[in-house]
Homo-oligomer: 413 residues x 2
Amino acid sequence: MQAVLDAILKRFVRYGRLTVRWPDGRLSAYAGTEPGPEAAMSLNDKATVRRLVLNPSLRFGECYMDGTLVPLDCTIYDLLDVIALNAVEGMAHHPFARFQTAWSTLRRRIDQYNPAARSQKNVAHHYDLNGRLYSLFLDRDRQYSCAYFPRGNETLEQAQAAKKRHIAAKLCLDRPGLEVLDIGSGWGGMALTLARDFGARVTGITLSQEQLAEARARAAAEGLQDRVTFELMDYRAVQKKFDRIVSVGMFEHVGVGHYAEFFKMVGRTLKPDGVALLHAIGRSDGPGSTNPWIAKYIFPGGYCPALSEVLPPIERSRLVATDIEILRLHYAETLRHWRRRFAANRDAIGALYDERFCRMFECYLAGSEVAFRREGHMIFQIQLAHVQTAVPLTRDYITEVERRVPSEHAAAK
Amino acid sequence: MQAVLDAILKRFVRYGRLTVRWPDGRLSAYAGTEPGPEAAMSLNDKATVRRLVLNPSLRFGECYMDGTLVPLDCTIYDLLDVIALNAVEGMAHHPFARFQTAWSTLRRRIDQYNPAARSQKNVAHHYDLNGRLYSLFLDRDRQYSCAYFPRGNETLEQAQAAKKRHIAAKLCLDRPGLEVLDIGSGWGGMALTLARDFGARVTGITLSQEQLAEARARAAAEGLQDRVTFELMDYRAVQKKFDRIVSVGMFEHVGVGHYAEFFKMVGRTLKPDGVALLHAIGRSDGPGSTNPWIAKYIFPGGYCPALSEVLPPIERSRLVATDIEILRLHYAETLRHWRRRFAANRDAIGALYDERFCRMFECYLAGSEVAFRREGHMIFQIQLAHVQTAVPLTRDYITEVERRVPSEHAAAK
């Protein structure tokens, strides 16, 4: 099998340089003809070599978790960076690329079949982890989604406050007392901000018991429980109507076969002159499928869609897209912050979870950052309404609100 | 046939009020239960009644052109407004709506088959009209596309200058001497502005002989002929590479079966760090078809797509959409200006073209405005690049450039 992997890597590495230490201790260097990052790994036993040959996209992460694939004088990020760059550029010219796309398009309908009961189980898998874990790498407000770096050099705290402000501006909260639905409310940071800084009355829904408890506790601690309520509820179960709807980093869990349901629900619960904002991870390169390691270990049932997959159900639901912003590299920066905080708190996290879990989480954070830097992942913010006149004529109001409510104000809270 | 049309209108009018004077002089009023605009028309002979029953979407405009369908104490705009409102609301609940969509999706592949030779013929049909006609309803710069009204009360001249500035800002013309391709350069206003106010070197291509001659004359008159060149060329024939590509109001003539070709051409001619901006009319309500009257008399081969039809070929071409702005109602305002100027210059236009032509043009301007106000038409501005880093991290640079180059400056030229 070593000869097979050697042959594969000789063809595969065209950018940068990858060095491999084989189980017998010998070293092979694979140098591309084009410039790129460098990294090295040790493959500690023959089983690891075999697993990588047979199913690299699943086994790479597993072997790293098991400690049989070990970065040498570099991090898991550096390894994933070389691999992703070569995979992306290689795939662009690969004769089987189209076939593979067709196959993955079929498979994902099954992988992403997420009725309410399964959605709850999928959410629990990741979000019901010990809350302290998240406090050890997220910002103080526990924003577990892409931050917004207007100048590029903000702290994570400032950038997360700027993100909430950017979204609040797009929600056109132009008078106090507006009823807002937050789909996928997490630990409550967005809902509390919209109530505290923008005078909204917010209902947050989540499927995570851990997040629900924390969010309710925070609302009570801030004395906002009369204006912010959190419920354990599936998005399909919402019946009330709202002036505004916001959803940040939840759409990734809906699944491609459920988009029609999702937008029908938005259309049904949004008042006639209402405004909604959907913030989610997308891919620039067209429909694809979720990496099998991510689907197995991190986000079962999850998928980051291409815009071409999101717009048809929007159009069929008779909602009108009134603006589509594409945030590029903001999530890469966010993940870099998280990865560094995770590394800085590695000992404290190691006291909560075992070494295999820690490596799994490192691989997930590094792989996600690489996906944004190398693989065309991005955030789309789609603003939706029933009527074209629900939002101002130009986008200038967004900057105006952002200027009126400085992010430092929100960050200081 | 009068009884049939009477029965249809009784069911059709649910908003506002439509009054009909039949060929025998009798009046019928169709009043909806919901509020809406009011209008009245005279149907002067039995043939008109029959034609409206058998093929209303084609014959309505034809009967108006022929002078056998005459607005009574109102304009053709008022008539189209009542009809469009009721058609849109009626279609939303019509059991055959889906079937009709499927049928029109098939048909439009044929209607919009636009190889180079046919494209040229289609363009000549509209754009090779007497240039003086356009000078009698467009702004001084002859911008024959949607203007941009940041405050909502700009003059047409100011709003067209603001449109060019808005697009220039999105093109990131951050250093002089950038090579820009303008696909569908019209009478040259955009190309001249990018050269004069932003220091670009522009190549404009058009398929209209009339527009080409006028654009070249203007470049010479302004002394810009060393920095702006215009060519009679199909978009598929471009070979050179450019730093920036802009296309305003041309994509509507490409045809849905040719989008892959169009974006492949953009990908092929845009330099690796380049930026492109596509500005075109779209529809919010999903794939549809071109109104048969418009296809026959105004824009043969033309189509305004849904975003869900534009994004798949973009994703397949490996271009990255870096921003999507949706300009709502700006074109309705633009068309209102054009319609009023057309009416004010009706005598001068009547000296160029006969009465039937004038009515055709009025019907086209009024129908287009109604499409934007009632039928979910909008402008999309899609910014494209090969790499996500080709444009700044946030959209704030757009406003900054707009502030630096006041629109009044450009409007004064």
